[in-house]
Symmetry: C2
Subunit: 326 residues, 2 copies
DNA sequence: CTGTTAGCGCATTCAG
DNA sequence: CTGAATGCGCTAACAG
């Protein structure tokens, strides 16, 4: 069933059917009703594919992320999808994992499907080997990147001010008398580096010493590392982490060692995910404004798509959430 | 840039370009190389839209769920997306929320985009008012439903045996001497009803009494409800929950009331999500086999799409995960 | 306000 | 093995 069938049955031309379908006002009321009657009778569903051939748009955007199972990715992706849905767009979800080949394959698929835009959640294509394909694709498709940055034209960046957030966290903990800081991070991403930089700058501004450790993502990895540090006799009274999940691993290890939190050691996470409410005591953390990031990305995207001028990079402020571990 | 441009530059016909693009073997090697050289030179990207016009498929499936921020939905969706990606399909993600209008809108969009299939994660369209649109769409598009069931032709169901899982949980707790059961659930879904039924049957089989409460989703709601029950003097020594999140709310309330877990009261969650590792003590729970559910759905889907016979309903066994709260 | 016509970029006959 | 011709279902001029 296509518009020819509808047109025939309604005794009009396909152009008129098309006009009715697209809500054009250049149709007489009687004609419109006649067409709509047929449309409803057959429960007609227009083909977005055929429409896409002409308009060169499927009203679809690609959202590219590492792994939607991660709470940060899920939350941001959710708010993107919802905001886009209101604008009439659908969302193709891509979990690239860490394999560069896989990433390129996804980019290719999205390009073939002529998505109107690509939103990257997290610095998915940080690997410099992937610069070429990203730059190439950005020539045809606008790219919005959340917590990342490309210098290319037609790419737009939304960043959470993670650096300042870490800075403020250290300030706060110093004001509460903490002196020996430990920082644990699990991702060498744009965002990850911002956090680390904020931490380091604050530490040196206060003339303090600190210990910084990279660990593989995961609760147990964090726990094990802290245990190792304790066994080695490291003294610390504040632990900052780049993820809530990591912080909870730290917390559990401290509890196992009968170290009181927050009396002896303060612990802070990052993201203000639901995880931070699940542990006891509840985790102090930094709200990385997941919902706002998604909404802002879509706003920027919509401006780009409608030709409204847009800043190349927008910064969103993070917020300290103080609960029971500080 | 389209196949005409490529054809011209390679001095062949568009048919030949098309054959090369689609890996047809009816092309002489020399010709193929000639074409591929041009393809590479311009980094040619074929249009999936135009291809879709002919093949009537965009190699895309829709995955419809309530809210990807939920860990269950995220995990299942992830494994679906990954498995489909290997088969060359992309995934359109739809978070319908709870509004029926919204659900219908998504269905309509997916139909217009001519997705090859729709996978529902959870009984998204349980509301009987939505039966009509689902039945209508299933006439053209196969529907695979995870933890749900439709009787319509061209719909396929993958179910986790939640009922038996709850049954076994009660058995286990009874064997550990528990006698006064509390069950808390937060969703009136297919799966939710299966769980409740399993619970109730086990309770009556053991000739025990129990208290069952529906609460709105959320940590605090669970906590508040338990507090209320405690205040009312209810005696219980085992709490089963339909979600890990709920169970953690219960756990936190018990801890606040200085009730020892698992010494005085056993607590069990459901899903074996990462949340169950974040609380102290770690939550005993039921593994709802999220990854396997997703993979199985895609396997079924692939069979449907390739015309291989398929059972209308497949059941996956859940597993008890015993940790520190039982 | 309505109809006619011409593509969009590709896969697919059918000839050669 | 290769090419010419056709049509998928729709939108967008352009005429009337």
């Amino acid at each position: 069933m296509n518009i020819y069938d509808i047109a025939k049955e309604a005794s009009v031309s396909i152009a008129t059917v098309s006009r009715v379908l697209n809500g054009s006002n250049r149709v007489r009321d009687i004609t419109r009703q006649k067409v709509e009657a047929v449309l409803n009778k057959y429960n007609y569903i227009p083909s977005a594919i055929a429409r896409g051939m002409m308009t060169n748009s499927m009203k679809t955007i690609g959202i590219v992320t590492i792994d939607i199972r991660g709470l940060y990715y899920a939350n941001v992706s959710y708010s993107i999808e919802q905001a886009l849905s209101i604008l009439g767009y659908n969302t193709i979800l891509c979990n690239t994992g860490y394999d560069p080949e896989q990433k390129i394959r996804y980019l290719q698929m999205l390009a073939e499907k002529k998505v109107d835009s690509i939103i990257m959640v997290g610095s998915v294509f940080k690997d410099p080997r992937l610069n070429k394909p990203v730059e190439a694709i950005s020539k045809n498709i606008p790219i919005v990147i959340i917590n990342g940055f490309y210098g290319y034209p037609n790419t737009y960046s939304i960043q959470c001010d993670d650096k300042t957030a870490l800075d403020k966290s250290v300030d706060y903990l110093v004001s509460r008398g903490r002196k020996n800081f430990l920082y644990m991070y699990d991702a060498d991403t744009f965002s990850g580096n911002q956090k680390l930089q904020g931490f380091n700058e604050a530490i040196s501004r206060h003339g303090l010493k600190s210990d910084v450790h990279f660990i593989e993502p995961g609760l147990e990895n964090a726990s094990c590392k802290v245990q190792e540090l304790i066994n080695n006799g490291l003294c610390f009274d504040a632990v900052l982490c780049s993820e809530d999940f990591t912080a909870i691993g730290v917390l559990q290890c401290l509890q196992k060692n009968k170290i009181d939190v927050p009396e002896q050691v303060s612990v802070m996470g990052f993201n203000n995910s639901i995880l931070s409410l699940c542990c006891t005591p509840r985790l102090s953390t930094i709200d990385s404004m997941m919902e706002q990031m998604g909404k802002t990305a879509v706003k920027v995207l919509n401006n780009v798509l409608t030709g409204t001028p847009v800043e190349a990079a927008i910064k969103v402020e993070a917020r300290l959430i103080l609960r029971q571990t500080t």
